[in-house]
Amino acid sequence: MKVELYNQYVRSQMSRRSVLKGAASMGALAAMGGAAPAFAGGHGSVRAEIMKIPGVGMGSPGDPEWQKVGELCLGPTKERVAEGEFAGVELTFMGLNNQNLHNFLFRGFLKPWEAYTGAKINWIDLAQADYNPRLQQSIATKTVDFDIIEMGAPFEGDTAGQGLLNEMPDWVKDQIDYEDLVGYLQPPVGTWDGKAYRINIDGDCHTFCYRKDYFGEGSITGRANPPRSWQEVNQISKDVIGKMDPLTGLPAHGFLDPLKGWGGFGFYFLEDRAAPYVKHPDDPAWLFDVDTMKPRVNNPGWVQAIQDVMDLIATEGAYPADQINADPGTTGFQQFLAGTGSMLTWWGDIGSNARTSDTSVIGDVVGFGINPGSERVYNHLKGQWENTYNESPNNAYLGWGVYVTNRVNGDDKKRKAAWSAAAHIGGKDISLWTSAYPSGFQPYRNSHFNYDEWEAAGYDRAFVEDYLGSNLDSYNHPNSANEPRIPGIFQYYSVAEDELAKGFAGQYGSAQETADAIAAAWEKITDQIGRESQIKLYKASLGL
């Protein structure tokens, strides 16, 4: 769970009285016996035990708690590794130091592992902002100096695609219950040319958040239900112009598009709109042609998505003032949570902030769902529109994973040690704890959606079902739009943001011209990185 979510949840939910009440009811449950919730997997008692460390509302866990959780979850390691087996092995682990979590958390988890196996781990801690340049420079200058790396799936093209990773042994798959993943994280994610490389430790997706008080009988939209398509979203955005927001009494607004770039991450929000137009269920590709890497970003589907945004820009009052300068941080936290606007797409955590953040005013009127679909979809292969309803939630960014590099090749002991360490922090039980407590990671296994386990830990069931349920549908959607894991994917996003900004500011004549400019810039990047290798890697990333 993200730290801020946890803190806000605890602040708003857990008064001293409610903690005591919860403790009393837990005590009563224990005294009655037989009322314990069912825990997923075969380590029920461990799962129940770690979920009590330190207990929801009992303060933020730190190194002693991390070590304790790490110690309790050592069982699978002990089944496969003898005590002291890795004595003399030194491993280097490169990861993040965001919010004093990530690597710091791993240190705590791995301390008991080091004590048991005899291995020693050296750490390379990086700030988020330094991560990409450090990784890219290591790859480009052939100075990979780490054995284990915490890495996002979008970088798999840069690493696995260049043969820098070590293939996951089968025993690791058994240890971590490799199959226990939500749909979109299943292979080909984490694999390259059919070989598995990734131990998942995180998940990410965009979901649709809307204001319930804008819909229903007597509402300002006059609609019974929230929109199911982007066409409806745009219509609602136009319909509410001139009306008053039922909650704040300020001017009402519809959908909040971020029109300013966000270091490449802003492009995901245009993808939210475009995916139902362009991600055809019969075609795994939606950003590039698989055989030529010719960008599809200027096909009629993408152009329609850009046009939809431009239509709202051209409609006075559709967006709040100064929307051209709003990035996703603004739309999510300064606008939607503060009661401006009625619809938004964002990562899963914005929804739970709506209920728990001190600055949120929409906690009681917020609803969630998967991203809107479209009443028509563009079939790129046939070159024509099809008038059928299409849904394609955007599983934007693929969360963090742990990988082992090829530095362990040829040294069986070191390889086993590296994979054992990675498997320990990506274990099934430990991941339940990282989902439930401040860790920087989101739920990503099917077993994380067993709401009884959360309730037993002290969470409010309604909160948990809202928080988790909005993600689950997107994760497991059969036509989800997933990240193409090719080298330099954020370069494509970054340059697209620049061109979109020009288009949105009216510097291009039309949506088509804007899309053509993006396509031209993408072609340049593809040529620079190497078209043939990109084609090969794109196909591999799609599992073709």
């Binding site: 990409n132 340049p133 890219q136 420079q137 790859i139 480009a140 100075t143 093209g157 840069d158 695609g161 260049q162 029109l259 300013k260 770039g261 966000w262 270091g263 490449g264 709040p320 003032a321 100064d322 929307q323 051209i324 300068n325 990035d327 300064q334 606008q335 503060a338 401006t340 080298p487 330099g488 954020f490 370069q491 970054s494 340059v495 620049d498 900004a501 020009k502 949105f504 500011a505 009216g506 510097q507 990047i525 620079q528 990185i529 190497g530 290798s533």
Partner: protein
């Protein structure tokens, strides 16, 4: 050696031939080791032989050793004169290592296609980056914006001069105002961009937006149109750096002898005449220096832009540095990014040289 050169030498050195020879051996011996190591490492890098070097540190250490030997040899070979050389030589070696060499490497990179995501690594691409820059509307747009940003220094200077005159006058709480006016300079531009750009100018809740609404501007938008956004960036940057110019001018004002003003006053010169004929000309050298330094600061403007507008809307606030930042960092386009930076450096050097020549001419006293 002329007698003039002995002026500052305390003792006359008589360097023995052996000592001279030993000095030469030190220099050439250490240089030989350095070049040998470079050669061996190059052989290994090109796969000709494997000497088990895991990195280039041996070459670095050899360079350090050669630098020490070179310094020591100066004393051995030239005695007192060598000691004088030692005052400068380490600094020269440091500059060569940290500025000249990297610049030479940067030139190599600038004429390459090097995308960090490319499996092919760095490829020499001749003048391709030149043509790409020539046809890159984002770069020219950023350069055009820089002209506007530089021009904004003129009103900044006028304000700074006015404030300096005020603070130089006998006003109440002068010390307090001097410190208060300096405060913005103590703030990091990143903090300024968050405190002002992201908080005070926030459209809905920001106090300045509220004030604007109270004054009748229904939907205040500070970064919505290109011109206003550029103006706001200029203002935030000016707010941070006007105190810098102000303090330089204030120091200059305090150095002007009071007698000059008193004499002019006795002669019946009105205040404006006194300013224009005495204060302004005497302040010209300080003013030019303050403006030149301010231009150098301005040419590096990036942090406020990156934080507040990311160069938008539609590139209206982009500076060359913020554009290069995106090209290099977000797109890992090292070759092209480096080329743009080198071109910018050349432009700055030429611009500043011309400006300093002109300033030199202007600074010739008119009185």
């Amino acid at each position: 050696m002329s007698s003039k050169e002995y002026l500052h030498i305390v003792t006359q050195d008589h360097i023995p031939v052996q000592k001279m020879r030993f000095g030469r051996v030190l220099i050439w011996g250490s240089a030989g080791i350095f070049f040998c190591l470079v050669f061996l490492q190059l052989l290994q890098q090109n796969g000709v032989a494997d000497f088990k070097f895991s990195n280039w540190r041996p070459t670095l250490y050899a360079y350090g050793f050669w630098a020490i030997c070179l310094c020591a040899a100066q004393v051995l070979m030239y005695g007192e004169r060598g000691k004088r050389t030692l005052f400068v030589l380490p600094a020269v070696l440091f500059v060569i290592s940290m500025v000249v060499f990297p610049l030479i490497f940067a030139l190599g990179i600038a004429f390459s296609s090097w995308n960090l995501s490319s499996p092919d690594g760095r490829q020499f691409n001749g003048l391709d980056n030149v043509w790409e820059m020539w046809a890159d509307p984002f770069y020219w747009n950023a350069l055009k914006n820089m002209v506007w940003y530089i021009l904004a220094i003129i009103p900044e200077y006028a304000i700074a001069f006015g404030l300096a005159i005020l603070l130089n006058a006998q006003i109440r709480a002068r010390k307090f105002f001097r410190v208060a006016f300096l405060m913005p300079l103590m703030l990091s531009p990143v903090a300024v961009s968050w405190m002002i750009g992201k908080s005070m100018l926030e459209i809905r809740f920001g106090p300045i937006s509220r004030l604007a609404r109270t004054l009748g501007w229904d939907n205040p938008s500070f970064f919505g149109s290109g011109e206003i956004a550029r103006g706001m960036i200029m203002m935030m940057d000016a707010w941070t750096f006007i105190p810098f110019m102000m303090i330089m001018i204030l120091a200059g004002l305090q150095a002007i002898p009071k007698e000059l003003h008193e004499a002019a006053e006795v002669d019946g010169a009105p205040p404006w005449k006194r300013f224009w004929e005495i204060t302004f000309p005497l302040m010209l050298p300080v003013s030019i220096t303050a403006i030149l330094i301010r231009i150098i600061f301005k040419l590096k403007l990036a942090d406020i832009i990156i934080n507040v507008t990311s160069g938008g809307p539609g590139g209206a606030t982009d500076s060359v540095t913020s554009f290069i930042y995106r090209e290099y960092r977000d797109r890992s386009n090292v070759g092209y990014g480096t080329f743009l930076a080198i071109v910018y450096l050349v432009i700055i050097v030429i611009f500043m040289t011309v400006l300093m020549k002109l300033a030199d001419r202007w600074m010739k006293p008119r009185y």
